[in-house]
């Protein structure tokens, strides 16, 4: 058999699939390895973190020293520390000569600038006013004439007295301006250079200091060892917080979705030692990604209140708590996650998510960006245009109460009808039982109706309260004709910050037509009543009053570096240019006094003619607040928070006379603005006023019911970013690298400086919008009426940061409702009370939180006379009887007739004003103080035992002892003595003070009101009793009770006669007879006046 020939191209011989297999195998293997690798590492980047953590943390623990003097010395002696120290010393020595030189130069420059500034600002004011005048002048010939005048004015030389005493003459205004700008530029450059010089020195110092703290821990050696063992035993695993596991009792089912795995990478967050990025960095290297992730939580106290096991991490920080596959995913900074982690500079936004109902977060939050943001939002009048839940809610409350009253009325009617039905059925009933049952039901309905009646009475009172609580941020523009220099108005509207740099009034970018029209409407719609004329007062005494009565707790005087006082209310430096004297007198005497009451029902300012028609006198105040026409509740007060200082009319005249002298140019120098009387402009003006929402902050005739023009901001932070209108800048923001704001002033407002990275997110939007509110109009051509309306609020960087923080946290959040901080116990009283406290700026005068600085504390006047400061209110609720507090807050003079005084501390120059609080706010304040001190409410006073004659005698001997001369400082009612008194009269104790508090106070006043004049150490503890520390009178032989208690009881039973007797026995009478020269120079207001009038 012949062999079958082998085919020439036998695939078995000639072809091989080996390469295919090899390639496939390689691909398969690669895929396998990739899958294995990805399974183990790619999807688990946290593992790398945990390995790093194990290494770095155990190294840290090995090097850590427990805190003690020796270990500090040891660390300070280490080579590393010495190296850092040498670096620091070398740097500071290098920089020192130049720093000194610059400082000297800056000092000289400052003086020069001040000298030039004085002359320059005056002249510039004139130039600006004339320029405006020329711009608004319609006749060309007059325009030219005025231009010539201005040019001539500019050419006039001016002389400046330089700080070295030499006089320098500038040939023209331009030269003066140039010099001024040059000087300022030079100062800016020098300051910048100084900053650059100091920076490296400070950095070195920080490095040195942090080295020390990084190597010391607050643990015992055995605790340290335990930690070390724990780290050694660490195996990689996910660390997660499942919130519902930990507090199933309080969290509802829907919170089970909070599962946070953040600690899988952030391993150091809850470690008991303080870990910083530097201490977690590899030796000799800068802190890397790992080091920054391993730091411990910077606010341990916050973690204590918000236990991570119960709250998780993401409710405060946001981000995607469940993601573990990449840093980006976990932080939620990718486009498919709606709640990215809050940016570094705005992390406090997280607090707002649950604490939106608080104006002050928790007691110790002074200076927090978020609190600043909340304050700004309210003080700058943002809620005039933007609704925000909880802010300025009186109008809404009024509305809902109105509806409730209507409902109740309807219910009453129904009840009555049904009752009649029941009675009719009863009359016809078949059995007596049935009749009685029906009659009972009718009776029950009648009782229900009387309850409803009482409820309606309550609601009416609340309505009255709410009308009283309703305030506006800006002044009442119905009074412009009585109050203002007409010609000043258009100049002001042009750019308010040019007149008053610190004003709350924002810049609206109005063009000249708009200014004309708006001022014309305001002027023509103003009330035309007349004011009583006042004679001129004594400006010098007025100045003294302004400085001593406490005006500066809210208002400020002086500009720029010389500004002193508070920023809560207007700066008064140029008030003389705009205000009318007679109006100022009325305002200072009682700012709440209205020219005409307003009837919200008729929408009309009620005048004497309306009262006359009903035969009523033209009297309207809080006690006469019913409309003569229809009986509705009137707005009888100006809607300002400014209180009455209970000054006499002559005092008010003196103050107004002083204020009217505060000016930089004469009111008569303002350009005539008679166009404001042109009736043709009125409608145009109303249109623009409506457009810009002026009525959000001002009362304006004819626009009392205007709604808010802006968008609601309650949940602005959770709006999808697509719904924020970046307009033509969307691309720019997404790409980054180009900053659209070009205006230098606005650019300086951006908290993070000009944008470098992409900024297409909420933070970028808010910051740009706040820095330059019309930024989104850029590149668009629009008619005036469609342009963006939001004015420029001339905010600083820090203010914008605070507001952005506030807005970022303003969210509609998927957190379970019980995460919201809306307590129902005493904490609710605290929460509500802060809104009132902040509304009236109580903290400008009073300290409510330990360590909080009041405005007055910072003033030179009180540096040497701290006993003249208003009292600290740290334990006020525990100190006073709430009933008394109510009386006091209603009328701080505690006297109906003699009101020109302080009710409690008659020796204080500074005056507790009358705020005319509504019942509503009075209640909130009293409950607030009681709750802050956790006092039971209502307060049931303790019975004070009657002292026996012997006990009285003993107590008296203590009271008048030379070792505890109580009456030396406490007022007694004797005017000569009270002039040097620094504490209240004991006769006020009864009914005012709580006995327990009095006892604590006597034992250690410094612990209740740090820095008070009353010394500690008057009593000491002996055999479990408080005993007098001075020589104990012999009558105390065998007395084994607390001496403090005896004294308290005695003081609570003290009579005026007894006090006089004791004072006389102490030699007071003789002292009072002489007229002491010390301390008498700044006596009471009355004494001061006597010498003047």
């Amino acid at each position: 058999m012949p062999e079958k020939p082998i085919p020439e191209n036998d695939p078995i011989v000639s072809k091989s699939l080996a390469p295919h297999y090899v390639i496939s195998m390689v691909i398969l293997m690669a895929t396998l390895f990739w899958a294995l690798w990805d399974e183990d590492f790619g999807q688990r980047p946290w593992k790398a973190f945990q390995h790093e953590w194990k290494d770095r943390y155990s190294t840290f623990l090995k090097n850590a020293r427990t805190q003690s003097r020796e270990s500090q010395k040891e660390i300070e002696g280490s080579a590393d520390y010495q190296k850092l120290k040498q670096d620091y010393e070398a740097a500071s020595q290098n920089a020192a000569p130049r720093i000194k030189e610059i400082n000297e130069k800056l000092h000289d420059l400052g003086a020069k600038i001040l000298a030039v500034q004085n002359v320059f600002t005056d002249r510039r004011a004139y130039v600006n006013a004339s320029t405006y005048d020329i711009e608004t002048e319609t006749s060309p010939s007059a325009k030219q004439r005025k231009q010539r005048n201005l040019d001539e004015y500019k050419k006039e030389p001016s002389t400046v007295e330089m700080p070295d005493g030499k006089k320098q003459t500038f040939k023209s205004f331009d030269e003066l301006e140039e010099t001024y700008n040059d000087l300022k530029n030079e100062r800016t450059q020098l300051s910048a250079e100084l900053g650059e010089l100091i920076k490296p020195v400070n950095e070195k110092k920080e490095l040195m200091d942090s080295y020390l703290t990084d190597h010391m821990v607050n643990l015992t050696p055995s605790q340290l060892t335990n930690l070390q063992n724990g780290v050694e035993a660490l195996t990689p695993k996910i660390r997660q917080i499942n919130v519902s596991e930990h507090n199933a009792d309080i969290v509802r089912e829907d919170s089970s979705n909070i599962v946070d795995r953040c600690e899988s990478c952030h391993m150091g967050i809850r470690e008991p030692v303080n870990l910083t990025a530097t201490s977690m960095a590899l030796k000799g290297k800068k802190p890397d990604e790992y080091a920054r992730a391993f730091t411990s939580h910077p606010e341990r106290d916050l973690l204590k209140i918000h236990d991570p096991d119960k709250f998780g991490c993401s409710p405060c920080h946001q981000g995607n708590g469940r993601a573990t596959t990449s840093v980006e995913k976990a932080h939620g900074t990718y486009e498919h996650w709606l709640w990215p982690i809050f940016p570094r500079g705005n992390f406090e936004a997280g607090c707002q998510i649950c604490h939106a109902a608080d104006i002050v977060l928790v007691s110790n939050d002074v200076g927090w960006a978020l609190s600043e943001g909340k304050d700004l939002f309210r003080q700058r009048g943002c809620m005039g245009c933007h609704r925000y839940e909880g802010y300025d809610k009186e109008p809404e409350d009024l509305l809902s109460i109105g509806q409730e009253i209507k409902l109740l009325e309807q219910q009453k009617k129904d009840n009555l009808k049904q009752a009649t039905d029941f009675m009719q059925q009863a009359d016809k009933a078949e059995s007596n039982d049935e009749a009685n049952r029906l009659n009972d039901r009718a009776v029950a309905l009648k009782v229900t109706n009387s309850k409803l009646d009482l409820r309606i009475v309550q609601l009416d009172r609340t309505t009255k309260s709410l009308l009283q609580d309703l305030k506006k941020v800006g002044p009442n523009l119905k009074d412009v004709r009585l109050k203002l220099n007409r010609n000043w108005i258009p100049v002001w509207l042009k750019k308010p910050t040019d007149f008053r740099a610190t004003t709350k009034m924002p810049n609206f970018r109005l063009n000249d037509e708009q200014i004309k029209a708006i001022s014309a409407y305001i002027w023509q719609s103003g009330l035309k009543d007349s004011l009583p004329k006042h004679k001129p007062g004594n400006a010098a005494h007025g100045k003294e009053l302004v400085e001593s009565r406490g005006c500066l707790a809210c208002h400020s005087l002086g500009e720029g570096g010389q500004l002193q006082g508070g920023t809560f209310a207007a700066n008064l430096t140029r008030v003389g240019e705009k205000a009318n004297y007679d109006y100022l007198v009325r305002w200072v005497h009682n700012a709440r006094e209205r020219t005409r009451p307003f009837c919200p029902y008729e929408k009309k300012d009620i005048g004497p003619e309306d009262y006359k028609k009903k035969g009523l006198p033209f009297v309207y105040d809080l006690d006469h607040s019913k409309c003569p026409n229809d009986g509705h509740e009137l707005q009888v007060q100006n809607m300002t928070v400014m209180p009455s200082l209970r000054l006499s009319i002559p005092d008010a005249e003196d103050i107004a006379s002083y204020l009217i002298t505060l000016k930089k140019m004469e009111p008569s120098a303002y350009t005539d603005a008679s166009f404001m009387d042109d009736p043709n402009l009125k409608d145009e003006g109303k249109k623009w006023i409506r457009n810009f929402g002026c009525a959000g902050c001002h009362e304006i005739s004819g626009l009392e019911d205007e709604g808010r023009i802006g968008t609601e901001l309650t949940a602005e932070g959770s709006k999808p970013v697509e719904r924020l209108d970046f307009a033509l800048l969307t691309e720019v923001a997404q790409r980054g690298g180009h900053e659209p704001i070009t205006d230098a002033e606005d650019l300086a407002r951006l908290p993070e400086g000009p944008a470098k990275e992409p900024w297409y997110d909420h933070k970028g939007f808010f910051e740009h919008k706040l820095a330059e509110p019309n930024i989104w109009d850029k590149g668009k051509i629009k008619p005036e009426i469609e342009k963006l309306r939001m004015p420029n609020l001339h905010l600083t960087k820090e203010q914008i940061r605070s507001l952005t923080t506030f807005l970022l946290g303003s969210q509609e959040n998927p957190l379970p409702p019980n995460f919201q901080y809306r307590p129902l116990d005493y904490r609710r009283d605290i929460q509500e009370g802060w809104w009132v406290v902040k509304k009236y700026n109580c903290m400008g005068c009073h300290q409510l939180i330990p360590g909080q600085k009041t405005i007055l504390m910072g003033m030179a006047r009180y540096q040497e006379a701290q006993e003249q400061l208003p009292p600290k209110l740290l334990t006020e609720g525990a100190r006073v009887d709430p009933e008394w507090m109510l009386r006091f807050l209603k009328n701080p003079a505690l006297n109906d007739k003699d009101t020109n005084r302080n009710g409690v501390r008659s020796y204080l120059q500074v005056r507790m004003p009358t705020f005319s609080f509504s019942e509503n706010e009075l209640g909130k304040l009293v409950r607030f103080f009681q709750a802050l001190s956790r006092q039971p409410f209502p307060y049931i006073p303790e019975e004070v035992p009657m002292l026996t004659a012997k006990e009285t005698e003993m107590a008296r001997s203590l009271f008048s002892s030379t070792a505890a001369p109580c009456l030396k400082c406490h007022a007694t009612g004797d005017p000569a003595h009270d002039r040097v008194a620094t504490a209240p009269n004991f006769l006020q104790a009864r009914g005012r003070l709580k006995p327990d508090w009095m006892e604590r106070w006597m034992i250690d006043p410094q612990a209740i009101s740090p820095g008070t004049s009353m010394p500690s150490g008057l009593f000491r503890r002996e055999n479990n009793h408080w005993v007098f520390s001075g020589p104990i009178p012999s009558s105390f032989q065998g007395y084994d009770k607390d001496h403090t208690r005896l004294l308290v009881d005695y003081i609570l039973q003290l009579t005026a006669e007894e006090q006089r007797r004791v004072a006389a026995a102490m030699g007071r009478a003789r002292a009072a007879a002489d007229s002491p020269s010390f301390g008498g120079s700044n006596g009471t207001g009355k004494a001061g006046r006597a010498g003047i009038k």
Binding site: D40, K73, G77, T962, P1015
Partner: protein
């Protein structure tokens, strides 16, 4: 036989892969670093050699007419007797008293032992003696009441803790100290508003208060470059540089103007 080979061929890379993987799992960096070598004692300040110490003295002059001391009315407390004039400017014969002189700069990081003995502040005649007091940080100040009336001692510091304690006549002295450096720390008595004095808390023992003759004397300074500060409650501070060689005794005079 064949299958085994294949297993070997396939298994080898798988195994090696696994090994590599396992290797990846371990961190290769060796971090068992020794704790920082025991530090050599830091360069302690050179001890002061008593043989080379220098001294500086001088007079504080007052250029101008001293305002007549205004009178204080002490009648509000009959127990207060004695001279009753304001002490804020005590100047006579062109000399200014109550100026606090201390070495402000130049001592570097030297630290000094805190003296064991206390410094006394006496209250008598409803006045403080002395009116200006120097004390080292941490040193005890013994406050004595020699008056037949009660005083309270109330420092109002900037950088130290504030306190206010009562001291009845014939009671034990109060012993207090101030932990931090502070110049012109005011102390007052709330019951006698005219009573006021200043404590100056410094870190070194090199300080003095000028007497009625305006003279001061600071001894025991190691040679070096120093800045002396002269501080007066009304006229503020003046600084003077001085270079002291070993065993020097230099004179530094300053003049205050009203």
């Amino acid at each position: 036989m064949k299958t085994k080979t294949w297993i070997r061929i396939l298994g080898l890379p798988v195994l090696s892969g696994l090994i590599v993987l396992a290797g990846c799992g371990k961190k290769e960096t060796e971090t068992a670093e020794q704790p920082a070598a025991q530090p050599a004692a830091g360069p302690a300040a050179t001890p002061i050699d008593p043989a080379t110490v220098a001294s500086v003295s001088g007079t504080v002059k007052f250029d101008g007419a001293a305002p007549p001391a205004s009178k204080i009315d002490m009648s509000q407390d009959p127990a207060c007797k004695g001279t009753n004039t304001v002490e804020n400017i005590v100047a006579g014969g062109g000399h200014l008293a109550n100026v606090f002189v201390y070495v402000k700069e130049g001592l570097g990081n030297r630290s000094f032992e805190i003296p064991k003995e206390a410094i006394t502040l006496d209250q008598s005649g409803c006045k403080y003696h002395p009116h200006v007091l120097g004390v080292m940080a941490g040193q005890t100040v013994k406050i004595v009441n020699s008056d037949p009336t009660t005083h309270n001692i109330h420092p109002t510091p900037k950088d130290n803790r504030e306190w206010n304690e009562s001291q009845a006549p014939k009671t034990a002295p109060l012993e207090k100290n101030f932990a931090r450096e502070e110049i012109l720390l005011p102390v007052k008595c709330n019951q006698h508003p005219w009573m006021k004095m200043y404590v100056n808390v410094v870190k070194s023992p090199f300080y003095a208060v000028t007497g009625a003759d305006g003279k001061f004397d600071i001894k025991g300074l190691p040679p070096g470059d120093y800045t002396l500060a002269f501080v007066h409650e009304k006229f503020g501070e003046q600084d003077q540089k001085v270079t002291l060689a070993a065993k020097d005794s230099k004179t530094v005079d300053v003049t205050f103007k009203p």
